[in-house]
């Protein structure tokens, strides 16, 4: 009898961990991500709402400066300059992810807390819009958890961007633009 109870608890915990995304969120509308400002790119950092490591934050840093902290089931949008960027997360071990930010495009990165010796270790990895939607992550990081590094959009800035900048992004199926001007033509061969 005692053994049965023990296995029931184990099975319950296993089930709770394996069904990682919040079930309620799967029926909700997908989170609206605003288009980045013209000429800028953006990355949506998110963390699924699993039980494991829920008490830990996943602080995303660039060049040693904290951009924002991700709690379980939270996301934030980082607007930044196009080019290669390196982001780090750290607890008892450090993990780094480099991404190529493209102008007028949105990319996704996911943080998970994995097993560690004394504490969970955050792991940052590339992701996709489909994975973000599937994860059911729908809560924006609170404004006081953002910064001091620049770029993370505060909740009011997200609302503003959603209301005013809709359609600013260049979608993949958009008509071909004949910009920028001639001054930016291909560089001569080396």
């Amino acid at each position: 009898m005692k053994n049965e109870a023990k296995w029931s608890v184990l099975a319950g915990l296993g089930l709770a961990l394996s069904t990682q995304p919040a079930l309620a969120a799967s029926e909700a509308d997908p989170v609206a991500i605003p288009a980045p400002p013209a000429g800028k790119g953006q990355i949506v950092f998110y963390r699924t709402g699993t039980i494991m490591g829920a008490a830990m934050g996943c602080s995303v840093n660039e060049n040693g400066t904290r951009i924002s902290s991700l709690g379980a089931g939270r996301y934030f949008i980082l607007v930044t300059e196009p080019g290669r960027h390196e982001y780090t997360v750290k607890s008892e071990a450090k993990d780094m992810l480099a991404l190529e930010v493209e102008p007028d495009e949105t990319q996704y990165a996911m943080c998970r807390i994995k097993m560690g010796f004394m504490a969970g270790r955050p792991d940052l990895r590339p992701s996709t819009e489909a994975e973000f939607v599937k994860s059911g992550t729908d809560r924006l990081v609170d404004a006081d958890d953002m910064g001091p590094g620049p770029g993370a959009l505060r909740p009011d800035e997200v609302e503003l961007a959603l209301s005013g900048a809709a359609g600013a992004a260049i979608k993949d199926d958009a008509p071909i633009a004949d910009k920028p001007a001639d001054a930016e033509e291909g560089a001569p061969a080396a």
Partner: protein
């Protein structure tokens, strides 16, 4: 053979046409070749490229470069403006091997440029950011179970590795032309008349 020559001479008398073999006839100038780089390529034109070497989270290093090739011709307004085959280069933006605790391998690639028409056409938007199949969830489930187990089976999680990402040679991906390509202006015909081999003529100012 002799009969052919006689017929040829006869026809030559009657008509002012040279009687020569067909191979010697001047070939009319053909239409401009599609590969002539004579047409502009708008920015954000989608292209299909393929990688020419094996890439992967376990075999590549961040900031490595790798050769690419234009896999399909670039077509603008129904006209082929650049044939397939142009060589170029891409860069491994990020590569990380799979690790313990179920951590998957990661690979982020970017297309940099294509060599064509004497210039390097800058590329963007390759959109290859991959993570292998991870086992972090499995490891976490084992750990949760281990909390109630009499033996420290949770340590097994450190030995469970995620899977690496492999991006084999020949894999195709889409990218875009980053900036508008404008074909070089044609050389004026008058420039062809300038003497190029006579040094005296080159300095003549009279």
């Amino acid at each position: 053979m002799r009969k052919d020559v006689l017929v040829c001479l006869g026809v030559g008398v009657l008509a002012p046409l040279p009687c020569l073999a067909e191979e010697a006839l001047p070939v009319p100038p053909s239409a401009p070749a599609a590969s002539g780089c004579q047409h502009a390529i708008p920015a954000l034109t989608p292209i299909v490229i393929e990688t020419l070497i094996d890439l992967g989270s376990a075999v590549s290093q961040s900031l490595d470069t790798f050769p690419i090739r234009l896999a399909e011709p670039i077509v603008v307004d129904g006209r082929e403006v650049l044939p397939a085959g142009s060589a170029g280069e891409g860069e491994v933006v990020h590569a990380k091997k799979a690790g313990g605790s179920g951590t998957p391998g990661e690979l982020v690639l970017a297309a940099r440029w294509l060599e064509a028409c004497g210039t390097r056409l800058r590329l963007r938007s390759m959109h290859v950011a991959l993570a292998g199949q991870g086992a972090v969830g499995t490891v976490n489930a084992i750990n949760a179970g281990a909390a109630l187990a009499p033996v420290p089976i949770g340590l097994v999680g450190f030995a469970i590795r995620g899977r690496n990402v492999l991006y084999p040679a020949g894999t195709r991906a889409t990218a875009k032309i980053a900036v508008r390509f404008k074909p070089p202006a044609p050389v004026p015909e008058t420039e062809d008349l300038l003497p190029t081999s006579n040094p005296d003529a080159a300095v003549y100012e009279g």
